[in-house]
């Protein structure tokens, strides 16, 4: 709004703090990192508060012609703004989550997280195609180091797999970007979103982008890097990976593939639906048989993201809005679930589900929070999960009944694996001595759980706060897709409300709606 370049500031603060952290001892590094992320959170909230709902599509626009061939162009619409707020919200919690569990090379660790924050905000705020790519790819380096240095037993394998998988997808997207820049003659994302690429070209461009975004999402069958990366990453790494990095893929779908290649999107709707259906059911089944907590939640992430892709490709208001809420909700809930795992992992140093049991007795507060997030993951009404899943399934149903049917089955399976997990960890007899000795959550852990729980409930009870800024953008995308949109098989027809009876109060109650 004002002359303050708030987005650049949000990028600069963690970047500068990261440089400081590199030179600091453990304790000051933690404090600096926390302070920087909290300042960024304040700026993020200011961004949200000052966002003019119903105003211009792109707000807080900044432009500086620094690089000749492309620009330092930042700006957000409602969707990007909400995702930035999500990133800034999760970041201080991640720093707090690693307050005690990270003991080695703390300065470098904090610096990597702050760089991650810069990159995440940059990805969502970039308004230039090449700037976006630089941020989008840049995430590889800090994440590679986070998994590789502070990860678990098998961290080397996981970090390589993460790096090479995502890189392979992205380089193809780079070629597509080159072709787009050549065709449209601009690198500006807002202009490209309204540029009509020739349909046959769209097909190739879509496939190239799909290669990248499907890996980032991740969609079945290229999801296999995710369980490895999650299991090996430190708790905060998993939180940020599930919370924000996976959203980059779905953000790419919404920002690039759908508005820029509407014809190809319609053409490949079946592919997205098919892969989403497989993902929802298959990964839910895989999650059921996991014996490793983190792996289970990782597979549940794949299932949730599949509902996002299906919702987005429903091409209607409800579906896309629902997908966006699932994205935000999953960002909060999966981060919270990974933290739930982290809490007990810090105490017992194992992720084996069977090593736990009966936590409800000695960790009641923990069990309560874990319960809340389990329910939110399942999609119980009143929690954030319900709103998103209901909306997106309603949207999917309008486009394809079968997809909606299969995805709903997946949600039932989701309830199964989450409740099963909860039962095995929290309920049952408290027999093991080392488990008995585990203390309940500390004030620091309270400080992490409470905001997460509050947001999960807020999103479930009054989702309008989150939906309102994004609604206009969804309408724009839906309008952009309208010419290419295939006929849905739900065969919805507009209702024929009976005309209100011209007189007579007796008929007043009937048929009018």
């Amino acid at each position: 709004m004002s002359g303050l370049p708030i987005l650049s500031l949000m990028l600069a603060i963690p970047a500068v703090a990261a440089i400081f952290c590199l030179y600091l001892e453990a304790r000051p590094a933690r404090v600096v990192a926390l302070a920087a992320t909290l300042v960024d959170l304040a700026l993020g909230i200011a961004l949200w508060a000052n966002f003019d709902i119903g105003g211009a599509q792109w707000q807080f626009v900044e432009r500086a012609d620094l690089f000749g061939r492309f620009q330092w162009a930042l700006g957000v619409d409602g969707v990007a703004m909400m995702l930035i707020v999500l990133s800034t919200f999760l970041m201080p919690l991640c720093i707090l989550a690693s307050w005690e569990s990270i003991k080695q090379r703390v300065g470098l660790y904090m610096a990597m997280f702050l760089i991650m924050e810069v990159i995440m905000i940059g990805v969502f705020a970039a308004q230039d195609l090449l700037l976006f790519y630089i941020f989008f790819e840049g995430v590889l380096i800090p994440m590679y180091l986070i998994i590789g240095i502070w990860g678990g037993q098998n961290r080397i394998y996981a970090s390589f797999k993460f790096f090479l998988y995502t890189l392979l997808g992205s380089v193809l997207m780079l070629l597509a970007m080159i072709a787009m820049i050549r065709e449209a003659g601009t690198t500006e994302i807002p202009l490209l979103m309204n540029y009509d690429f020739p349909p046959e070209m769209q097909t190739w461009l879509w496939l190239a982008f799909f290669a990248s975004m499907a890996v980032k999402m991740p969609m079945w069958p290229v999801h296999t890097w995710l369980p490895d990366a999650h299991v090996q990453a430190p708790t905060a790494g998993s939180m940020i990976l599930a919370g924000v990095l996976l959203k980059m893929g779905s953000y790419g779908f919404l920002r690039f593939m759908m508005p820029m290649f509407p014809d190809a999107s319609a053409q490949f709707m079946w592919l997205v639906f098919a892969l989403s259906m497989v993902a929802v059911v298959y990964t839910s089944l895989v999650a059921l048989v996991q014996s490793d907590m983190k792996k289970l939640i990782a597979y549940s992430s794949v299932a949730h993201m599949a509902i996002v892709t299906a919702g987005l490709y429903a091409f209607n208001q409800q579906g896309i809005e629902g997908a966006l809420i699932v994205m935000l909700s999953h960002g909060v809930v999966s981060a919270a679930l990974f933290f739930c795992v982290g809490v007990i992992y810090d105490r017992l140093h194992t992720r084996e589900i069977s090593r736990y049991g009966g936590l409800a007795v000695n960790m009641p507060a923990y069990s309560l929070f874990f319960m809340l997030f389990t329910m939110a993951s399942i999609g119980l009404p009143g929690t954030s999960g319900f709103v998103g899943e209901f909306l997106s399934l309603a949207g999917i149903y309008e486009a394809s009944s079968w997809t909606a049917f299969v995805c709903t089955t997946g949600i039932i399976l989701g309830a199964a694996y989450m409740l099963y997990l909860y039962r095995r960890i929290v309920f049952g007899e408290l027999t093991k001595d080392d488990v008995k000795a585990m203390p309940d959550i500390t004030p620091r852990e309270w400080a992490i759980f409470v905001p997460l729980a509050a947001v999960a409930l807020w999103m479930g009870v009054y989702p309008e706060s989150f939906l309102a800024p994004m609604r206009g953008d969804v309408t724009t995308v839906v309008a952009r897709l309208a010419p290419a949109k295939p006929e849905g098989d739900a065969g919805l027809t507009a209702g024929k409300p009976e005309a209100a009876a011209p007189h007579g109060e007796a008929h007043h109650a009937g048929g009018v709606q």
Binding site: L22, L66, I134, L167, L172, L174
Partner: protein, 479 residues
């Protein structure tokens, strides 16, 4: 004639400087290391200043055999800059073995490379190339007492002589079938159709030059020579001569064979083959390497392949991309080799074995971070600046319609990324190695490493507008 002499000041300065250094060596003895070093540094700086002073000139001298233009100027600046650093860092490495000839040979090599980059005649081309090569053979075996160094020199000489023969044979064919050694004349002859003689000429000339840039299948010497040669010399081989040979190849392809017409189709497919073969072999060959110098040799083969993608486009945009690539590549390579020169084990020997770098980031955090920047930059991972030239070559290829080549290139670049991040893994993820590695670099070397790492991290992006103007004015003289 005297007017021509005024336009070749850089070459004159280098000639005189090289001769003076030799004389100093003969009369002042080998102990006065600082003196020769200073003479060479001053000469190179003066030559670079002369190049800058000649900017904007576009002329042919000595009956059109040598060009004085922006293209040559761009290449020469990089060459002289790289040579300067290679002179500056040498004394610490060689210690007692440092002699006056080192500085003089670098000067003569730089002179030859300058001539390569600005030749417009097949004969000047050959003279420049041989001047550079002969100096290089001696440099490779500079540590006379060291078996590996002598072996490297001999290997380089034998294979280099073979390549020169091939090149000369190609030149003779081109001359025989076009009737001239002048680039423009050859281009005219090619414009009216390519007969079998000219075609063979093209193939042999490209093969000879491919040896110099170490493109596959003429790369066999590279790992051995890089490994065996003293590290400052390897730094030199990996940087300056690459620039000269690539500039020369560009000039021959665009100027002497033509960027349009029948010749383009003839050389384009050769370049595409060389490019793909280099990228793939460079990426795959590096995976099993345990010696960092060998690995960087394969990395240079791989990078040459990417440069050739830009060249294969045959457009001005492609040439601009190659020039930008060369600059960024030289900065990265010098940084990486300087890193190699920093580390010594407890006995004072160079540490070239990659597993010995385990846990280096704990002992030498700054140095390890700089090397990580170089490696990620070589793998072209944004936000590091190594991404930008790769983007440019792919852009040039896509715009020239070479989409399959670009697709193959990016996919193989992922294989390449594997071995770069494997070194990062060794330095950052592995537990510390038992033997203590110490860093006994000078402040100057540290400064060069830090500056190149900084430039490659983010600051480089701010230079894009400047680089684009420079590369564009340099490339435009060929079109």
């Amino acid at each position: 004639m005297t007017g021509d002499l005024a336009l070749i000041w850089p070459e004159l300065i280098l000639t005189i400087g090289g001769l003076v250094t030799l004389m100093l060596g003969a009369f002042a003895g080998d102990r006065r290391v600082g003196l020769y070093q200073l003479a060479a540094l001053l000469t190179l700086a003066a030559a670079a200043a002369a190049v800058v002073a000649l900017f904007g000139t576009d002329a042919s001298v000595f009956s059109g055999t040598l060009a004085v233009d922006g293209f040559g100027g761009f290449a020469k600046l990089i060459i002289y800059g790289a040579s300067l650093i290679c002179v500056a860092v040498a004394p610490r490495y060689f210690g007692e073995a440092m002699r006056a000839e080192y500085s003089a040979l670098i000067l003569f090599a730089a002179l030859g490379m300058g001539i390569m980059a600005s030749s417009r005649d097949l004969m000047t081309l050959y003279v420049g190339l041989e001047l550079n090569s002969l100096a290089s053979y001696v440099l490779a075996s500079f540590l006379r007492g060291d078996d590996r160094s002598s072996e490297a020199g001999l290997k380089y000489f034998v294979l280099g002589a073979l390549a020169s023969g091939i090149l000369l044979f190609g030149i003779s064919l081109l001359y025989g079938f076009s009737g001239t050694t002048d680039f423009a004349g050859v281009a005219t002859a090619m414009g009216s159709g390519i007969d079998i003689g000219l075609l063979f000429g093209i193939v042999f000339v490209i093969a000879g030059l491919a040896f110099k840039i170490s493109a596959v299948p003429f790369h066999m010497w590279t790992p051995d020579v890089y490994e065996g040669a003293p590290t400052p010399v390897t730094t030199f081989f990996a940087s300056a001569p690459k620039v000269a040979a690539m500039a020369l190849l560009t000039r021959v392809l665009i100027d002497a064979m033509g960027a349009s017409g029948p010749a383009l189709a003839a050389w384009q497919q050769i370049i595409i083959f060389l490019s793909l073969a280099s990228i793939i072999l460079g990426a795959v060959g590096a995976i099993g390497q345990k010696n960092i110098k060998r690995l960087l040799a394969y990395s240079s083969i791989n990078n040459v392949g990417f440069m050739l993608i830009g060249l294969a486009a045959g457009t001005q945009q492609g040439v601009e991309a190659v020039l930008t690539y060369l600059l960024v590549y030289v900065v990265t390579t010098i940084g990486a080799f300087l890193f190699v020169m920093q580390l010594r084990d407890a006995d004072g020997r160079m540490v070239e074995n990659i597993p010995a770098y385990a846990g280096l980031s704990k002992r030498q955090p700054g140095l390890a971070a700089a090397m990580a920047v170089f490696l990620f930059s070589l793998a072209a991972i944004p936000p590091l600046f190594g991404f930008w030239p790769k983007y440019l070559v792919f852009e040039a290829a896509v715009n020239a319609g070479l989409v399959p080549l670009a697709v193959a290139g990016v996919v193989v670049s992922v294989i390449g990324a594997f071995y770069y991040i494997a070194i990062v893994k060794t330095m950052f993820f592995d537990d510390e190695a038992e033997s203590a590695i110490r860093n006994d670099g000078t402040r100057l070397e540290g400064a060069v490493i830090a500056a190149s790492a900084l430039w490659l991290s983010l600051i480089g992006f701010l230079f894009i507008p400047m680089l684009a103007v420079a590369a564009q004015s340099a490339a435009s003289v060929l079109f």
